[in-house]
């Protein structure tokens, strides 16, 4: 995992790239997520695991408190996931927004598997973890 950047609103730059984040689709995580949402279909990986990979990538780059407060999510699937897949999440800071005295980061992510196959793309808006202006 990459070290989180020293997070200061003024030092963030729209267009900057996030450090690549590696996420393995482990049996334990898949079983845990199935348990959370009551999904007993053992033949598939819950789609939300991709969201976890993206949020973890964002948290690894920008998080400060061990968690990210989610505001919006766009999510597009491009292929099925399998247990054991080793995913790479690449991201870019698309926008920095101020709305109703709250700061937000909008981050685009692409997720590829170990063979370079595009699995998902996403655009995630999170509350800036460094606090209000």
């Amino acid at each position: 995992m990459s070290a989180a950047k020293q997070l200061t609103w003024e030092h963030l730059t729209v267009g900057e790239r996030l450090a690549s984040y590696l996420y393995e689709v482990g049996e334990e995580a898949v079983a845990g997520l199935r348990q959370v949402i009551g999904d007993d279909d053992a033949d598939r990986v819950p789609a939300a695991i991709l969201n976890l990979a993206m949020l973890n990538a964002i948290d690894a780059n920008y998080g400060q408190r061990g968690g990210t407060v989610h505001a919006r999510q766009r999510f597009a699937m491009h292929g099925p996931l399998r247990v054991g897949d080793r995913l790479t999440v690449d991201g870019q800071l698309l926008r920095m927004e101020l709305k109703r005295q709250r700061r937000y980061l909008v981050i685009a992510c692409d997720v590829h598997d170990q063979d370079g196959r595009l699995i998902a793309t996403g655009e995630t808006t999170v509350l800036y973890p460094g606090g209000a202006p």
Partner: protein, 133 residues
């Protein structure tokens, strides 16, 4: 316009402390606002709140169940997290067909007034590549 999408709904989940703890382990998200009433109150919440993606994951399961392999290859969803969910509430994920062929999706809480906590839209991209557009 494509054939209107339709998926069976609703789907319910009681978001207990155990569910929140399990999600925290899976997501490696240990933000104290999810586990400690005092920490949650310190940031303006009435008490501890569930991770937003617990409800989001339930909604994704609804779509994955209803759209099957089409979802895995070209599913797209846009979600807005509009309200925090107190731990202990029950959520219900819904999907309704729209005139434009897409699905209106939402998750509502069983709190008084049944407020919506997530709202959004889901659809299938015309082909796999266009899911990036």
């Amino acid at each position: 316009m494509e054939t209107p999408l339709s998926v069976p709904s609703p789907m319910r989940l009681h978001v207990t402390d155990e569910v929140v703890a399990a999600y925290g382990r899976v997501a490696d998200d240990h933000n104290p606002i999810h586990f400690d009433d005092d920490a949650a109150r310190a940031v303006g919440m009435p008490g501890r709140i569930a991770h937003g993606m617990i409800s989001g994951a339930l909604l994704l399961r609804l779509l994955q169940d209803g759209l099957g392999t089409d979802w895995d290859h070209r599913g797209v969803v846009e979600l807005v997290f509009i309200r925090p969910l107190p731990v202990g509430a029950t959520v219900t994920a819904h999907a309704a067909s729209r005139e434009d062929g897409r699905l209106e999706v939402w998750v509502e809480s069983d709190e008084p007034g049944h407020p919506r906590i997530i709202v959004g839209t889901a659809w299938l991209a015309a082909d796999e590549l266009s899911a990036t557009q």
